[in-house]
């Protein structure tokens, strides 16, 4: 029996717009003997409606948490907006008895109840803190020597720090760099490494969201990284899916491959980029990077 079992929380974007992330994550977790269960009833985490109505967003989040509780599982999220929102909702409901009562009256009509029993884990925090660096390293059979990676922490993986930050200082985080270095690749520093993807204003101020992507991509080009790493479905939509739009606004080609961490880790675990890790689904193709790995592989 697997030591770890979770309810997999895909959120809204991963199942439609970042299939590569969905695919690589499932294959890698399976190889690591981490069991994940899909829940049809999981729906939007609530974050997109926080702007409209606090209580609506909290209740939506609580419903998801209550479904996980009913199944007796903790949640594993692959989108930082989802993990952040669900963690904030959970913490508010645990702290505020009046709010919990109100929300539970609404959930009761759906035959559900929130008690706080199920926890929420972001997949990177799971790798770093629960699965453990030592254990994870044992699975690296094909180190990604010579690959330079620009990590993208993303905002809701780090902040609000008192709820989601774990061991990271939001101004100087280190966990993702360590997870990337563990694959044999090198995490390279760059000016805009903590810049926001702008996903939350894609529907409100599209131009700004594209300018933010362009700024990030230019900063990655400046340090000549081979790819960008991400671990959030919405960040993936922005940097991979919308990179072309950002190129138009900047009047410049970026062509920076955007790899979910599980694709990087999967490569290091010796998995096949196309058969196993969904590289065919990447919008910005990672051919140069894969060719570089082949070269390194044939030399050794």
């Amino acid at each position: 029996m697997s030591k770890f079992k979770f309810a997999l929380f895909l959120g809204c974007n991963a199942p439609v717009r970042t299939l590569n992330y969905d695919r690589a994550t499932r294959v890698v977790l399976s190889k690591l003997d981490v069991e994940v269960v899909d829940q049809d009833e999981f729906a939007c985490c609530g974050y997109p409606l926080e702007s409209a109505d606090h209580l609506t967003a909290i209740t939506m989040g609580a419903r998801n948490l209550a479904v996980a509780e009913r199944e007796g599982l903790d949640i594993l999220a692959i989108c930082s907006a989802c993990s952040g929102s669900l963690m904030r909702t959970r913490s508010m409901l645990i702290e505020d008895e009046e709010l919990r009562k109100d929300v539970n009256e609404r959930l009761a009509k759906m035959g559900l109840e929130f008690t706080g029993k199920s926890k929420v884990r972001h997949i990177m925090r799971f790798f770093h803190e629960d699965y453990g660096m030592e254990e994870l390293k044992k699975h690296v059979v094909r180190p990604l020597d010579g690959v330079k990676v620009a990590v993208h922490y993303g905002c809701h993986y780090l902040k609000p720090s008192e709820i989601v930050g774990g061991p990271d200082n939001p101004e100087m985080p280190h966990t993702v760099d360590e997870l990337v270095d563990l694959t044999g690749a090198e995490s390279v520093d760059y000016t805009e490494r903590l810049l926001c993807c702008g996903g939350a204003i894609l529907g409100y101020r599209e131009r700004d969201s594209q300018l933010l992507i362009a700024k990030k991509m230019q900063s990655i080009l400046d340090v000549e990284a081979d790819c960008m790493e991400m671990h959030c479905a919405f960040c993936g939509v922005m940097y991979d899916g919308n990179q072309k739009a950002a190129e138009r606004i900047a009047d410049k080609k970026f062509k920076v491959p955007v790899l979910p961490y599980t694709q990087l880790l999967g490569l290091a675990m010796g998995l096949d980029p196309y058969e196993d890790l969904g590289f065919k689904l990447n919008r910005v193709k990672a051919k140069d990077l894969l060719a570089k790995l082949e070269e390194v592989g044939s030399e050794s």
């Binding site: 895909l10 959120g11 809204c12 974007n13 199942p15 439609v16 717009r17 299939l19 969905d22 695919r23 499932r26 899909d38 049809d40 009833e41 999981f42 729906a43 939007c44 997109p48 409606l49 926080e50 702007s51 409209a52 109505d53 606090h54 209580l55 609506t56 209740t59 939506m60 419903r63 609404r106 009509k109 759906m110 905002c155 809701h156 780090l158 902040k159 609000p160 720090s161 939001p170 101004e171 810049l195 926001c196 702008g198 996903g199 939350a200 204003i201 894609l202 529907g203 409100y204 101020r205 599209e206 131009r207 700004d208 969201s209 300018l211 933010l212 700024k215 969904g278 689904l281």
Partner: protein
């Protein structure tokens, strides 16, 4: 002050001010710490949107709110430009909890009949499909082809929640907004 500056920033008069606005925002979840702001500007100096867009300035929005400029704040487009990155919230020396405060402004704007048009689109999609997009046969075929299980969110799974909190009804009563995004936005 040069004359063109006076034109750009017209004087605030009593008619522009609603003295109850501060209380209204402070009583909204996320707005509790509005009065703690001493206008140091750490938020604006840290803000990634401020760096690329002159129309967004968190310190200015907070000062406007503290002055009681209710209509100007609630009917604006700029309260919808915050990306929710939390940098200002982490750095604010007064713990104003600015990211949450921006959400509170949007919540009050929605209640008062001035939601951004994108809000109604998101709410409608979430009520219908449970998530912010539709997964139909086409999307599920793509998933299966990629070696993924189909994703079938039960229809209307969140509709009852949006109805029970009154959000569905509130959005039906939205008033025409005085200004529109320059770039329209992409829902």
């Amino acid at each position: 002050m040069p004359e063109d500056a006076i034109e750009e920033y017209p004087l605030v008069t009593d008619d522009d001010i609603d003295p109850t606005f501060v209380q209204r925002v402070s009583a909204t979840p996320g707005g509790e710490h509005l009065l703690d702001c001493y206008a140091c500007g750490t938020c604006s100096a840290s803000c990634p949107v401020r760096a690329i867009d002159d129309e967004f300035n968190p310190r200015r929005i907070i000062r406007m709110a503290l002055l009681g400029l209710k209509d100007e704040v609630l009917q604006s487009d700029f309260i919808w430009f915050c990306t929710g990155c939390y940098i200002c919230q982490e750095r604010c020396p007064q713990d104003v909890r600015i990211t949450e405060l921006m959400m509170a402004f949007r919540n009050v704007a929605t209640e008062e009949g001035y939601p951004h048009p994108t809000v109604a689109i998101i709410a409608d999609t979430v009520a219908k499909h449970g998530i912010i997009m539709e997964i139909g046969e086409f999307e599920n075929e793509k998933r299966v082809k990629a070696g993924l299980p189909p994703r079938n969110v039960p229809e209307d799974v969140h509709r009852g929640i949006l109805e029970s909190t009154g959000l569905t009804e509130t959005l039906k009563k939205a008033k025409p907004r005085p200004t529109k995004d320059a770039d329209g936005g992409d829902a």
